[in-house]
Symmetry: C2
Subunit: 578 residues, 2 copies
Amino acid sequence: MDKILRINMSVNGKPEAKVHPLGDYAGLGGRGLTSAIVSKEVPPLCHPLGEDNKLVIAPGLLSGSAAAMSGRISVGCKSPLTGGIKEANSGGQAAQVMARLGYAAIILEGLPENDKLYKIVINKDGVQFHEDNTLKMLGNYDTVDRIKSEFGDKVACISIGQAGEMKLGSASIAFTNMEFRPTRHAGRGGVGAVMGSKGVKVIVIDDAGMKMRSPKDPEKFKAANRQFVAGLKKHPVTGEGLPAYGTNVLTNVVNEAGGLPTNNFKAGRFEGAPKVSGEALADMIKERGGNPTHGCHRGCVIRCSGIFHDELGNYLTKQPEYETVWSHGPNCGIDDLDTIAILDRMDDDFGVDTVEMGATIGVAMDAGLAEFGDKEAAINLVKEVGKGTPLGRILGSGAGITGKVFGVERVPVVKNQAMPAYDPRAVKGMGVTYATTTMGADHTAGYCVTANLLSVGGTIDPLSPQGQVELSRNLQIATAAIDSTGMCLFIAFAILDQEETFNALVDLINAFSGLSLTGDDVSELGKTVLKVEREFNRQAGFTEKDDRLPDYFLKESLPPHGVTFNVTDAELDSVFNF
Amino acid sequence: MDKILRINMSVNGKPEAKVHPLGDYAGLGGRGLTSAIVSKEVPPLCHPLGEDNKLVIAPGLLSGSAAAMSGRISVGCKSPLTGGIKEANSGGQAAQVMARLGYAAIILEGLPENDKLYKIVINKDGVQFHEDNTLKMLGNYDTVDRIKSEFGDKVACISIGQAGEMKLGSASIAFTNMEFRPTRHAGRGGVGAVMGSKGVKVIVIDDAGMKMRSPKDPEKFKAANRQFVAGLKKHPVTGEGLPAYGTNVLTNVVNEAGGLPTNNFKAGRFEGAPKVSGEALADMIKERGGNPTHGCHRGCVIRCSGIFHDELGNYLTKQPEYETVWSHGPNCGIDDLDTIAILDRMDDDFGVDTVEMGATIGVAMDAGLAEFGDKEAAINLVKEVGKGTPLGRILGSGAGITGKVFGVERVPVVKNQAMPAYDPRAVKGMGVTYATTTMGADHTAGYCVTANLLSVGGTIDPLSPQGQVELSRNLQIATAAIDSTGMCLFIAFAILDQEETFNALVDLINAFSGLSLTGDDVSELGKTVLKVEREFNRQAGFTEKDDRLPDYFLKESLPPHGVTFNVTDAELDSVFNF
């Protein structure tokens, strides 16, 4: 995995692929690599949909090896949604397959001629480009079916739906899972719009004939991996909660804590929460012959994803994630899992970020386009996105633009990206992360739910401003490092609480790479990634004024705890003091 | 004119008016006053449609007096379009009428309860509020007709159309002219959306029983006014060009210079320009019994506005301004004055900025919503705004949002406000003003067409970057001062070229106010206004990165001269070095 595949979409009118050595980027993977490339090669003031933006797809440092949990992939670019740097992270099979082909990154550059739409096939023999306008405005499911009929289901697909082709701000990039379904998404920040602007509908990656990547020290690697897996199995979150109920195990927890944003962030507790909880979802899935305990990529031992069947027992979609259940459920006053699953399926098919989409529907409901709780109206609104009507384009452009077009003041965004499933007033650590991360409001960037609600890595009162900045800072640093390894972020639960599991991870990296990193080195890597990202954003025009929540979170008190967001501006400005 | 009328739209659920002394704001008028109030009283990070924003309406220092040209009015707020400070300037009768009632400013504050819509009546006896939901979603023409039937046509109206009620980013505020038609607009920056958010449909101002404001030194005032008027009459632009052909005298001039943005800024010369020129327009107006030489307010001696009749000889709209002719004409490939006049009428009626609207239609045409040159399609697109359809709301939100929703890269905006009728590559002084003014792309903020194309106030090659920064700086300072006097900006042509006319203006101000200002004091006033505005924007998160043109202007060469915008970033950053 020591080469970069650069694809320029128009060299004398035709796309062209060239393989380059990693060069200056050696030693980087995942988010570390995407952010380094974007930062070095993309002009911060360029138009996100223009020829100067680049879409960088990079597996992690350990991807393609036998290391457990190493199948995450990073997608980087200048974001059409935030205008800043973006790394969106996904599961699925592509990380492993790309890594086995030896590619540390694929970079899409330039713009195609005349709105041409391409299928790109990458295998051990090289790269082929097929202009294929019959793929135009297909959903991800149909696109992947077409690929399956041509290539079988052993390849991996990276594709966009209608939203990406329309270059909408909420457009995601889909990655096929183990069953060759387009259910794993680099969701946030409109990365699918950048892929759409490059004229790439789908990238087919075929690792036939290639082998698993082998570690420098196979024995040490094997031992470290064994201990790492044992640590994950031992921890109650990664060993019990997530496998049994998926990420939606959080609905009851966050609702109980009064931090579940309800009806477009008007309350922190939702009466219908138990009906859409992880427990209810797992029961329903089992009853219908689905599977609530399933990995999003091979090598996953936590297995928090799952397979959702409809009432007739037929496959409908993946088990909706907590953030999806929340965004289309409580955030819109909806307490029906079947409705949420239909919306999840549509989001995956059209290729939109489920967090942004649900938050947008909440804003649309505040604008009077539908009543909170109206399931059918919510479904009809999302359908508009797939149709590409003017209304669908507004909604697909995200919560910020929807708020502007409909004159709504209460729009829960930071850097124009919608907040996820934790009200920042009642889970203040998350508020600090939303405000300050380079990514726009994002939960994964520094997941303070750990110490705020789960007593993982310590305990910090979620309702108090005390300690939240330090918590968020440390988690943002750790996350930037983990996102560079290709490891699933959920390993954080175990490595924060169990020193031996953290050490096993460091051993795993060292045994694989032949390096002698320490825990401090990992932390330094995280800091470097964040600094690079902050500097890109600064050059793109961001200031500390962009590290703020919308002012209504500071003024409007949230039931049931009656809290506002009261971490001071000065405290927020100290997050990156390292 | 020593008091401020503060109207809070909800004090215990009801609107309430209070009269305050000018206090700290004494000595300020027009833009100087609106920017001082916004800067001091509006939190820079507040939501523009929220309760913390304020809408400030202020006549100039000389408004309501017998001084010629003193009927301009300033509207200030935090702009929903740019997110920065905004002063939008209009003609019409309101400035004189308000000034005679003694109000230096009306400030709308707070938010009404439950989407109530108000008519506010202000006269010598005080302020009355009438909740009147029958006005909902009326155009400005119908609104003004309703007021006329109730109050006659001697009052002045300040109103919003459908766009303001929908809180769209291009919504303007209409001011009635001498014939009681809603044809003069504070157009830019979405000020109408702020009035809409305050729940105010129309303000009726009645100065019955009030007298003209009298100067401290009547004799000196009279003499200065006489000399000032003589100077305006003598100058070829204010004495001949503007009265004969209106502002549209510029179409042939700018087209000849290769700076007339054509087909969404793809060329600088338009084949059909002669068909829509000021000369052609004046001929058509005279033929049909309209009037091409008419003031926008009483006391105007330049009389560049006019009255446009349709083919049957019936009133249709005001004589379209140059920027309107351009935005709906050449910028959309349209060479038909009747089409442009219909669009002008619709813009005034719905209450949208004609510059933003035409630029938006150009972007929509690039998005494929219509062909360049398709007159009927342009009319139909603007009709959508009045209907409030999703498409209409997108378009009414301005060029920036339209570009985002439809995935268009070439969007001619700075700080999200559309560029007016001068391509910044071929009229580089205007490019400097677009990039650096506090207002977002705006021609009136520092009108470098003077020395760039008209040899007024000197001659500076429009195609060269040399000297443009100094030119723009000086004009931005002078403009900020003129905008504070209530004087029409067009006096600048005469005062830049004729020292005795400038001195007459200073004498006029001194004779009226009893002060002893010098030319330097006027310049200092302008600098102070700009500094206050820059500081507001800085606190709202603006940096030097916001003082840039979209990057395609730096890369894409403009026919016929084959020029790009090549004033350096460092030069742009030196504009405010004073």
